[in-house]
Structure formats: C-alpha cells, structure tokens
C-alpha cells in the first residue's frame, strides 16, 4: 500500500485510541460512538451516491432494517450477538440489492422517488406491524454486545462507553478500509465510469445494472451494520428513529463532506455531528443548520469540504486528477 495511505490509517487508529482518554465522561463517549455510527452511514451512502452516482434517498430504511433485524433475532430467537450482527448486515445488503434490482432501470429522479417510497413503506411497516416490532412503543432493554473474555486479560465489557466506542469506531475504520480498497480497484473504476456516463461505460463492456446493484448492496450492508450497533448502543428502538429525515441528514453529510471522495463524507459526518453539540442550547437549530449547509454547499461548493481542501492546498488537484490507479510507485 502506498506509504502515505498507510500513515493515514495509522493516524486514524491512533486518534481512535486516544479519544476516550481525552473524553472521560460517558456522555461524550456515547456521542463519539454515535459519530462513528454516522460515519458508517455516510460512507455507505457515499459508495452508492458519490461513486455509482445513484441518488438513494432510502438509506435510512436499511439502517432501520439492520437495527430491527439484529434486535429481533437476539430478543426473540436468542441468537448470539455476532451472528445476529452478521445476519443484519446480510439482510440489509439483500434489501438494498432488491431495491436496486427494481430501480436499476429508472432514470435519476425516478430512482430517487422510488427509494423514497421504499423508505416510507419500511417505516410504515415497522410502525404498524405491532406483533413483530411493538410499533411506536418500541423495543426496550436491548443489551450491548456480550463481553469478550480473552485468556490472561481482564474481561472487556461493552457496557463501558469507552470500550463500546473502540468497538464501533474500529468497525467504522474497518469498513472504510474495505470500501477504500474496493474503490481503488477496477471495481472502483467501473463505478466511476457508471457515474460519469453510463452509455459509454456500457460500450466498454461494463454491466451498469449489475454494478449498481452491487453498490447498493455494499452501501446498504454497511448501513445495516450501523443499525445493529445503534440498537445495542442506545438500548431502545423505535420506528421513528428511521424516518426519511434521517436519509436527508446523511445526504447532507455526504454532500457537505464531498461526495467524490471517501474521506470527505467522513469529515462531513464528523463535522455535522459535532457542530450541534458545540452549539449547545441550539438543539432545534441542528436540522436548520443541516438544511442550510446542504443547500449552500450545493449552490456554491458542490464538491464540499474536499473541494475546499483542494482550493487551500493547490497541489492536491494534480494528485486527484489521476485516478485511483495512479500511485507514486
């Protein structure tokens, strides 16, 4: 791996390791964990929107499917956490692929609305299928992942907010790595080609429909993982956590961060999660800020923070202009 990237990953790992030492109270640690979950959602959506170019407004549905699937498997069928986690990922990914297979022939706006309709249907099902989900009353008392006991070490309990952060942030970094590797491979080239121009992409033998389904599957699977972690972090699960406003929030993070890169949405997610916390007392202003940020970024700096970074460091365009393959080696 390019040494610059290796350093980047090490820095990220170091930051993750240090954060709970800086923020010792569980309120902030929980916030950081929520931030990590949001990062997962953002990179998942970025894979679909920023790379495959599909405006998926239904991302929150897969988040919800992951959360409810893992929770129900654990509470109703007594499935062990990590197996339920894997199932949640698989189910969310499969649902994403199903939506994509349906929507793949649709032009941009139609796909956006179809995904929106799908999200509304999922939310309404979660709300109304009371025998399964307990509807608006929600599911309570969801436990964190089971403690891990390694020989010779103290038991790692995830009721501890710091440990929970390490777990979730660690997975976020892992998912980032996996997506990054995929995007730097010929698969990433194919997705970029599809985003840039599907007609010529097809003329090169790229199966546009197939790869779009793939992108939806991967992005939705990551959202499902985020959902599973969310449920076990927050302890209670209500359908209204997955209304379509959530999709718009994640969309704002991806766009503000810069959807043509993978790192941009990470920054966007962190910024838009942390900023309202800093502006405490303006809790209700949070969504107003998101809306304003989204609109202004699209109008004035559509490349988001990544574009802004390029303007500040003019050397970057030369590097960015070369595709994924062009490494210094």
């Amino acid at each position: 791996m390019y040494s610059g990237r290796r350093v980047g990953y090490l820095i990220a790992a170091a930051v993750i390791a240090l954060l709970p030492l800086i923020f010792q109270d569980s309120y902030w640690r929980t916030n950081l964990t929520v931030c990590a979950i949001t990062v997962m959602l953002a990179i998942g959506l970025d894979f679909i929107l920023g790379y495959a170019g599909q405006l998926n407004l239904g991302h929150c549905a897969f988040y919800g499917i992951g959360a409810y699937a893992s929770t129900l498997l654990i509470t109703r069928l007594g499935v062990p956490f990590w197996i339920a986690f894997a199932c949640a990922i698989a189910l969310a990914g499969a649902a994403g692929m199903a939506l994509a297979m349906f929507a793949v022939r649709l032009r941009g706006h139609y796909l956006a609305i179809a995904s929106l309709a799908f999200a509304v249907i999922v939310h309404q099902v979660l709300l109304n299928w009371i025998s399964l989900t307990q509807g608006p009353l929600g599911i309570y008392g969801i436990r964190p992942p089971p403690p891990i006991a390694l020989p010779g070490l103290p038991v790692i309990s995830f009721a501890n907010a710091g440990n929970m952060f390490y777990l979730v942030a660690g997975f976020a970094l892992l998912f980032y790595f996996l997506l990054d590797q995929i995007l730097r491979s010929p698969i990433g080239e194919a997705l970029t080609a599809i985003r840039e121009d599907e007609v010529s992409a097809a003329s090169f033998g790229i199966n546009c429909a197939g790869w779009k389904v793939f992108a939806f599957g991967i992005g939705s699977a990551v959202a499902g993982a985020a959902g599973a972690f969310y449920a076990s972090l927050v302890g209670t699960l209500v359908p209204d956590a997955f209304i379509i406003t959530e999709s718009f929030t994640i969309l704002a993070m991806v766009i503000v961060g810069g959807m043509a890169t993978l790192l941009g949405p990470v920054c966007g997610a962190i910024l838009l999660t942390v900023l309202p916390e800093l502006l405490r007392g303006f809790g209700d202003l949070r969504l107003v800020l998101y809306g304003a940020a989204l609109t202004l970024v699209v109008l004035f700096m559509p490349g988001g923070m990544a574009q802004a970074a390029r303007l500040i460091r003019p050397r970057l365009p030369g590097v960015r202009a070369k595709l994924l393959h062009d490494r210094a080696a």
């Binding site: 022939r105 929106l116 249907i121 309404q124 007609v199 809306g291 304003a292 989204l294 699209v298």
Partner: protein
C-alpha cells in the same frame, strides 16, 4: 353500507382534488425543466400557515386568505427558481438541483418548527362546520364543497390557459423542446419562471384549503408531498390530464383504505401502487421519446 361508500367517495374526491392542485405544480415544473422541487411541500405548509395567520391574527376573510396564500406561494416559487434552479441550470447536473431543494425543504420545515412549534394549530374556517345534507344519508361540509369548487375552477382555468393562450402554448413548447422553442422567439427562462410561479401559487392555494382539514403542523406538507410524488409518477411526469386522474384515484384509494382496511396502512397502499407503476412503466436510460443525440 352504500351510504358509507358514497361518503368516502366524497371525502376521496375532496382530498383528491387538493392532491391534484399540489401535484399539478410538480408535474408542470418537471415538464418544463425536467427537475423536481422538493421544497414544493413546504410551500403548501407555508400557504396553510399564511392563511391561518391572515384569518386569525389579522382577522381577514377566509376566502381572501386563500388568495393571500396564493400570492405568497407565487413569491416563494419565484424565489426558489431564481436562487436555485436558474443558477444551477448552467452546471447541467441532473441531480444537484433536487439535492439543493432537499436542503431547502429541511431548512424550511425546521425553521417553521422553531417558529411555530410542533403543536398542531386548529385551523377552523367559518365553513368547516356548516353541513349540507345530501340524499342517501351522506353529507358534505361547506368547506369541502368550497374545496371541490375552487379546485375544479382552478384546474379548468389552468387547462384552458395551457390549451388556448399563447403563454400556455409557449409553456408546452418549452416542455417539448427547449432549444427549438428558444429559436422560435420564446424566452425559455421567462417561461420557466412563469411555470414556477404558477406551480407554487397552486401549492400555496392548496395549503390554504388543506389547513382546515389536515393537522396543521410544520410537517403538514410532507404528508402531502410524498403522495403528490406518487400521483405525478402514476399519472406521468409532465402529463396534466394524467395527474388529474391519478390525483382523484389516490384520494379515493386513501379514503377507502382508511375506512375499510386500516388508516395506518394508507401510505403503504399508495406507495406500493407507486412502485408497481414504476415496475411496469420504467423509463429507460435514454428516454426514447426524446431522441437523445448520442
């Protein structure tokens, strides 16, 4: 039993005609610009609140408040086109304007939430409680009658405008082929702006009439917009007659689902219908009707 069915039919037509007003705006904009204004819903909500405050705070006449809402809607439409769609037109991106309007929608909704609070406002027009008895044991409130009347007249006027006036024909020309319309001396930008103003005026007006019969919160528009999307897709983007039929259809389906199945399931039914329509009539990559120069 029959009386109930007829009653629900009447309710369905009432809601349906309001949905048509809102959906017509969306379909007009799409026809002329091939773009979706996601904030359309919020114009509906703002129209409702404008009518509310005009009636209650300023003590104005309810029917006049519909006019006020219309004007405010028109102004908002002008503003949104001028600040978002027109500047982004040069960039040529298909999806960016939609994303920008999603931002506007989130902004407006939550700004209204801060301003007006989440508690529903009870908006009673003076006509909400006047009931007219109809044969067969059914009834209709005067409010609903006004809604049907105003909607019908508006739709008819719009139809006449599109068919018989120069501006209306210019609108259809720009929808069909913007470049050629431009070459024939029609200013497409002016036509697009006019379309926006008309569409948003319709939305505002719809809001003013919806206010008394819906739960008036900052999110009132959202419940309507997603149905409006469904209607526009079922009826066909840009197709005015189709939108009217689809709107009434959705109103009726909603009404009957509420009465005979389960009120919580209306959204699921309507959206499943939407997805079914998309499944059967998808638009291809290159919309073969508008032959793209490849």
């Amino acid at each position: 039993m029959l009386a109930v069915a007829v009653q629900q039919a009447i309710n369905g037509v009432v809601f349906g005609s309001l949905y048509v007003l809102v959906a017509l705006g969306l379909t007009l904009i799409y026809g002329v610009l091939v773009q979706i204004n996601f904030a359309h819903a919020d114009i509906v909500t703002i129209g409702a609140f404008a009518a509310y405050f005009f009636t209650y705070t300023l003590g104005g006449n309810y029917v006049a408040s519909i006019g006020v809402a219309l004007l405010i809607g028109a102004a908002l439409g002008w503003l949104i086109n001028a600040s978002i769609f027109a500047p982004l037109r040069e960039r040529g991106s298909e999806l960016l304007p939609l994303i920008a309007t999603i931002g506007v929608s989130v902004l407006l909704q939550n700004a209204m939430l801060l301003w007006f609070g989440p508690i529903p406002y009870s908006f009673d027009s003076p006509y909400s409680n006047q009931v007219i008895r109809l044969p067969g044991g059914t009834f209709i409130t005067l409010q609903n009658l006004i809604i049907i009347a105003v909607s019908t007249v508006t739709i008819a006027l719009l139809y006449g405008f599109m068919r018989f006036t120069f501006m209306g024909k210019a609108l259809r020309a720009v929808a069909q082929d913007r470049e050629t319309a431009g070459l024939m001396g029609i200013n497409p930008n002016a036509v697009i702006m006019l379309t926006f103003v008309i569409a948003s005026a319709l939305a505002g007006m719809g809001g003013a009439m919806l206010g008394p019969i819906l739960v008036l919160t900052p999110f009132a528009g959202t419940s309507v917009i997603v149905k409006a999307f469904a209607i526009v897709i079922i009826g066909g983007f840009g197709n005015v007659e189709g939108t009217v039929i689809a709107g009434l259809l959705v109103g009726l389906i909603e009404s009957y689902t509420t009465q005979f199945i389960n009120p919580g399931l209306t959204d699921i039914v309507v959206f499943t219908l939407l997805l079914a329509v998309l499944a059967l009539r998808p638009t291809g990559l290159i919309a073969e009707k508008r032959e793209e120069n490849v």
